[in-house]
């Protein structure tokens, strides 16, 4: 059957490559293995091996989760121009973007699983045999939207690639409805993730209606930053054609999004600090420290500085158009948002506690190792997917009705 051959050929393509390719896969696998070994420590001894506590009950894992959902959602920035405005240049790379979404959602889900006290009971969430507290629990919502987004980003590229594999054009009418759903779904995954936090009046720092818009804005800055870098790597290490116009468009979107994101941060700062009440304690802790504790202070100022430099670079047209300065802006934005929407968002929600206790959190080496492994796994998934996508899109991998001949 053609589908089975398609999958088989795809996997074969993933496992075929020059020495550098294999070195890359091996390096990623080593990071994953090391993290898996450290995770076994966590499984044996419990989450006590992390830096988390009753006071700060979420940490580095959930920070990465929040950030990665944004990266996953940003794939929509390629999906809309590619499928709705039918831009040929973007259509060429949209499958790569969707591959990134699959990798990002996988990482996000793995970060939640790594954070669970009882991963062995994950099946309790499965509707029917378990109890899925939907539509009441925002966490149930998040699991639902992330799973569906994962499937959408697998199914649409699967169909398009499968058609190309057989030398046919995909039936637009067949997949277009799913593309529309995927568009709205991308916004929903990050909105729901923001609501997961903002739904809690117990945590004034998160309990703001601006959190959803802030999440989307920062995602549409950090997402394109990562896509721009990735596309350039693809252009460098493969013979795949990536049009400069794609990067120009993404850079422009990123500029707007980062401006809006910084404006939102400013709005938040003003509202909390102008008449500083009890609700401002967390943000005070974040930016200035509280009661002598200030482990996040230098990080958040650093992140703000990175984002400010990036936005200045992006706003000056010649600098944005120059590859080197654009790449600098992308790295600064990615790291800046990672700090701001990661640890900078999650941890202050817990400091001070609802009873006013100040207790700091520092991730342990187990958390760093497991996080590195999940990132490496995401990069590995993306590498493998991109490898197969590019081979099919370049026409090197085609269905052979008879025999085992490949065009390569």
């Amino acid at each position: 059957m053609a589908v089975i051959r398609f999958i088989f050929d795809g996997i074969r393509e993933m496992l075929r490559g020059p020495r550098e390719y294999w070195l890359w896969l091996t390096a990623l696998s080593l990071v994953i293995l090391f993290g898996a070994w450290r995770y076994s420590e966590q499984l044996t001894n419990g989450l006590v091996v992390t830096g988390m506590s009753d006071q700060v009950s979420w940490g580095f894992y959930i920070s990465n989760f929040a950030f990665l959902v944004g990266i996953a959602a940003a794939a929509v920035l390629l999906v809309i121009p590619a499928y709705i405005f039918d831009r040929k240049d973007i259509k060429d790379v949209v499958l790569v973007g969707e591959g990134m979404a699959v990798a990002a959602v996988t990482m996000a889900i793995l970060f939640v699983i790594a954070d669970l006290g009882r991963p062995d009971r994950l099946w309790h969430m499965i509707p029917g045999i378990g109890r899925f507290h939907w539509p009441v629990s925002l966490l149930a919502w998040d699991v639902l939207v992330l799973s569906v987004y994962f499937l959408l980003n697998l199914a649409i590229p699967f169909y398009v690639l499968y058609s190309h594999y057989r030398g046919k054009e995909p039936n637009f009418r067949l997949y277009f409805p799913f593309v529309v759903i995927a568009m709205f779904w991308a916004i929903s995954i990050h909105t729901v993730t923001a609501f997961l936090f903002s739904a809690n009046p117990a945590r004034p720092f998160w309990h703001t209606s601006l959190l959803g818009p802030r999440f989307i804005a920062s995602a549409f800055a950090s997402g394109p930053a990562l896509i721009i870098i990735t596309l350039q790597i693809v252009r460098k290490v493969t013979s795949y054609h990536v049009s400069q116009s794609v990067i120009d468009l993404l850079a422009l979107i990123m500029t707007f999004a980062l401006q809006i994101s910084l404006f939102f941060v400013g709005a938040e700062l003003f509202t909390d600090f102008y008449n500083e009440g009890a609700h401002a304690a967390s943000i005070h802790y974040l930016f200035f420290g509280l009661g002598g504790f200030d482990s996040l202070k230098s990080w958040i100022w650093f992140a703000l500085l990175l984002n400010l430099i990036a936005v200045v670079i992006l706003m000056i047209h010649p600098l944005r158009r120059k590859t080197l300065t654009l790449n600098i802006a992308c790295v600064l934005t990615f790291v800046g948002i990672w700090i701001e929407k990661g640890m900078g968002l999650v941890i202050p929600g817990f400091v001070p506690t609802p009873l006013g206790e100040i207790f700091e959190y520092l991730p342990t080496s187990v958390e760093f190792s497991v996080a590195a492994a999940i990132w490496a796994l995401g990069i590995l998934i993306f590498t493998l997917l991109a490898k197969a996508v590019i081979a099919i899109e370049q026409g090197r991998l085609r269905y052979q009705a008879t025999g085992d001949k490949y065009s390569l």
Partner: protein, 309 residues
């Protein structure tokens, strides 16, 4: 083993005898077959534990079997024969609590009684009750001292505010749980099924009173200090990786006893009772004292009041 005779629990003794007999069998099997594997459990027990349904969907027989496994696990882990019960809520009862903060002197006897009564992890130092020390005239929790440790209390110029689970009538923690492992019982107690909780800790983020605690590691309880009178939804030994909280001493109060914190309080600051009984002391307090609730503006509707003389 404490035996609550006269609790009106018909057939309780027979049940216990039968369970002890079965437990004996189970241990015999475990010893001869595969002691080290499955964490010291028999394969059947490990299998049954893994596939155990949540509390509210278990049949009476399934709950009975779960209680047996809890008892045999406690014996293996702590070397103590506990009695794990499943006393149902009493009809026409909803519990409420009120604390007279002008009487509280910050002795923390409630805290320590609670730790013992509820088999809280000693190494992990989990405490369901926090007594906050504040300056007279100040009620800002952010100024509170959680770890006050003077020679003697009360300290001149300070006042004390004990905080624990408020058993909210609209509990945000219950809404947060993605697997319905925590809910409000008919008698108003918010409970956790420790065997169903997946340990995501979203409820801890949702709680405005910092009432929920997580088992970051296996709770350590000295065998000689184990309270053997336990309840499935209450003070039975908890597994690692799940959330727990104050349950108004469900194993006591459902049998008409006072919660341990109230019994331990030397100043008589604590009033516990049935909110549906117009003649109860708690109803008297609510009707005749100036009461208030913590963070009432959050709309969680706590069944826990404070008042002063």
């Amino acid at each position: 083993m404490s035996n609550d005779s006269g609790s009106g629990n018909d057939g309780g003794n027979f049940d216990k005898a039968r369970r002890n007999f079965l437990r004996g069998l189970g241990i015999g099997v475990a010893a001869t077959v595969a002691q080290p594997a499955w964490g010291g459990q028999t394969f059947q027990d490990a299998f049954a534990d893994f596939f155990q349904k949540d509390y509210r969907r278990m049949s009476a027989e399934e709950i009975e079997a779960a209680l047996e496994r809890i008892e045999s696990k406690a014996l293996q882990r702590y070397g103590v024969e506990i009695d794990c019960q499943n006393t149902p809520p009493q009809p026409g009862v909803v519990y409420g609590y009120a604390i007279n903060i002008s009487r509280c002197k910050g002795y923390r006897d409630c805290v320590h009684a609670c730790v013992k009564e509820n088999n809280l992890g000693r190494d992990s130092q989990v405490q369901y009750i926090r007594v906050l020390q504040l300056d007279q005239g100040d009620f800002n929790l952010e100024h509170s001292d959680h770890y006050y440790d003077p020679e003697t209390v009360p300290v001149e110029g300070k006042h004390y505010l004990p905080v624990q689970c408020m058993q909210c009538d609209d509990p945000p923690c219950v809404k947060a749980c993605p697997v319905e492992a925590t809910w409000m019982e008919p008698d108003g107690i918010v409970v956790v099924d420790y065997d169903w909780c997946i340990g995501c800790r979203y409820c801890m983020a949702a709680c405005p009173y910092w009432a929920r605690h997580f088992n970051w590691t296996d709770p350590e309880i000295p065998a000689e200090e184990m309270n053997t009178n336990t309840h499935y939804l209450g003070n039975r030994p908890r597994p690692r990786g799940v959330v727990e909280k104050c349950h108004f001493c469900i194993h006591r109060t459902r049998k008409g006893q006072q919660p341990a914190c109230m019994e331990a309080c030397p100043t008589g600051s604590r009033i516990f009772g049935n909110l549906l009984d117009p003649d109860s002391e708690i109803r008297y307090v609510l009707a005749n004292k100036q009461v208030f609730r913590l963070k009432e503006e959050l709309g969680t509707d706590p069944k826990f009041w404070y008042y002063s003389d």
